[in-house]
């Protein structure tokens, strides 16, 4: 139940602050997204550059990079995920506490990017874990990462706490663990997680 915007402003002038629990809760969550300190390849350097003085990710409450997945809210998959690394990435994602979000940064994390034809490169991390924001680029500029942050904040803002569309961490029946792929003879086994990814349908 949303309060009328004009009424809110009017009350604010009188010194009365009105909000809903949902808004307050989401405001708190979206203003302190702590990413995991986790770099994979070239894109990680742009991620570091984003936290430095010129781009200053601290403005978005996200400058605290946590080395441990237990303390992190956000995983920035910044770089090429190889088939040797993919099980580690999924395992790290499983170790993060809910609510957790994923940004796939760069062409490699989205689809394998320039190395897609390589025999050892995973063709997109969204085959195994749910990705909230994709940012294209090779590497994406720091501004693009900031844009991804703002998109994610907007997404968190709009999450209802009850009802059908409530986020995963409030839904007891939602999937918490994601299966960790194992290296097999030719590819990772399973090659993708059908719960989060299905092959795109080609329409000719």
């Amino acid at each position: 139940m949303a309060i009328e915007e004009n009424l809110k402003i009017e009350l604010g002038k009188q010194g009365v602050f009105v909000t809903t629990l949902e808004e307050l809760y989401n405001w708190g969550r979206r203003s302190s997204i702590w990413p995991m300190q986790f770099g994979l390849a070239c894109c990680a350097i742009e991620m570091i550059a984003t936290t430095m003085a010129r781009y200053d990710l601290a403005r978005f409450g996200a400058e605290v990079f946590r080395p441990s997945p237990r303390q992190a809210d956000l995983m920035i998959v910044s770089g090429t995920v190889t088939k040797k690394m993919a099980p580690q990435v999924v395992r790290l994602y499983n170790q993060m506490a809910e609510p957790r979000y994923v940004i796939a940064m760069g062409a490699c994390a989205i689809s394998g990017g320039p190395f897609k034809q390589g025999y050892n490169v995973l063709k997109g991390i969204d085959r195994y874990i749910p990705v909230d924001v994709h940012i294209p680029g090779c590497p994406p500029r720091p501004e693009a990462l900031i844009q991804a942050f703002m998109t994610l904040q907007k997404k968190i803002d709009e999450q209802p706490l009850t009802g059908e569309n409530r986020p995963r961490f409030l839904n007891q029946n939602a999937q918490g663990e994601f299966p960790v792929p194992e290296p097999a003879d030719h590819d990772l086994e399973p090659p993708s997680n059908p719960g989060v990814w299905s092959a795109p349908v080609v329409i000719r």
Partner: protein, 390 residues
């Protein structure tokens, strides 16, 4: 005499202590540092065996970022590998471009015009400065000074990246050099802004040094840690600042005099002790020498074409043969070895990555040290995983 002992004798200087004896009764502890570890500069794993705090064994595990660079290059035309070389050592894309262009130019016998040579030197030295600044920043960060020196380094790096961006269109992945020249010409305005950035660099290095060089914590943590003996360094093919910090005078800019490096006056800084502190110091001094080269190159740059008009950029078929082009990249000797069989693609394409070869010596530097120093020694090697695993 066991096999291990004969080997030790043959490889003079390679006298690694093969068995570290544990002190006391305690159990050995094996831990895996990485692939996700805040200090590993990417996805690299060290399997460390510890006796208390002391390192007894250290086994590096590579391959978490193996991206099939060489295999992809064998299936692509020569020019198509140029953007991939950017992604080897992603701090120094322009030096990588140069090394690859040099190898192909040797293969096809291609000359490079004067102006392009100057541009290459200017860009390579700017790359070296930003690489050394950030690598020192990361090194200090691993000592626990979280952020501050890195902030200073990145402040300067951003200025240099702005130059790269305005010239090549990309901050990091420049893809700028071509066989027989460069892709776009530098404008007078670009040169003016480059001169301005270079004029500000000595003050930055002074500031950096004032903060760090005589810092007591830095000295206590770095001096005498991770010593690398010169003969061992030579035997292990270590190159770059790591080798020079051990006191071996070997800089490919002086040895090969590729490009036009014989025209510039610069010195090669050398260390005495081969410890982490010397590596830090050598990098700082190399930044100063790079600034000197830039100060000479920027005013001298001649007018003229930036591409040899006869140069073929795409669709050429080199005669069967082989070529090895190498440069002094910021991390060491970066070489590209190409074999041509007369087709438009290289038959074999091999990268000699300085990061990987410098890393092979990691165990010898770490044995007997505290586990907290492993992180520091590892940082002082200055690697980039894109180049280690390719």
């Amino acid at each position: 005499m066991s096999i291990a002992e004969t080997k030790t004798e043959k490889l003079d200087g390679w006298n690694r202590p093969p068995t570290m004896e544990p002190e006391g009764e305690g159990e050995l502890l094996e831990i895996a540092m990485g692939p996700h570890h805040p200090s590993t500069h990417g996805v690299f794993r060290m399997d460390v065996t510890l006796d208390g705090e002391r390192v007894m064994r250290l086994k590096p595990v590579f391959g978490y970022l193996h991206r099939n660079h060489e295999k992809i290059a064998e299936g692509a035309a020569y020019l198509a590998s140029m953007p991939y070389t950017d992604r080897l050592d992603y701090f120094c894309s322009l030096s990588n471009n140069w090394a690859y262009a040099l190898a192909v130019e040797k293969l096809v016998g291609q000359a490079v015009p004067e102006r392009a040579q100057y541009i290459r030197v200017i860009l390579a030295e700017l790359t070296r400065i930003q690489n050394h600044a950030s690598s020192i920043g990361f090194l200090i960060q691993e000592m626990g000074a979280s952020g501050t020196p890195l902030m200073y380094a990145f402040r300067e790096r951003e200025k240099i990246l702005d130059l790269f961006e305005s010239l090549t269109g990309s901050r990091m992945m420049c893809n700028y050099m071509r066989f027989g020249g460069c892709r776009v010409d530098v404008s007078a305005a670009w040169l003016a802004s480059a001169r301005k950035v270079v004029a500000g660099l000595p003050a930055f290095v002074d500031e950096f040094e004032a903060l760090l060089t005589t810092n007591e914590i830095l000295m206590a943590r770095c001096q005498g840690v991770g010593v690398l003996k010169p003969d061992l360094a030579v035997n292990a093919s270590v190159t770059g600042p790591l080798l020079r910090a051990s006191g071996v005078n070997y800089d490919i800019r002086k040895v090969d005099r590729y490009g036009i490096y014989d025209r510039f006056k610069f010195r090669v800084p050398l260390g005495d002790h081969g410890d982490v502190y010397d590596r830090y110091m050598v990098r700082v001094l190399e930044m100063r020498e790079s600034i000197r080269i830039l100060e000479q190159a920027l005013p001298e740059i001649p007018a003229g074409p930036i591409m040899d008009p006869k140069a073929k950029i795409r669709g050429f078929r080199p005669k069967p043969g082989e070529a090895y082009g190498r440069i002094e990249a910021p991390k060491g000797e970066l070489g590209f070895y190409l074999i041509s069989d007369g087709s438009p693609n290289p038959y074999r394409y091999r990268v000699r990555p300085p990061s990987l070869i410098n890393l092979t010596i990691l165990e010898d530097m770490c044995l007997g040290q505290n586990v907290a120093d492993v992180v520091l020694i590892f940082g002082s090697v200055d690697i980039v995983l894109g180049e280690v695993d390719r």
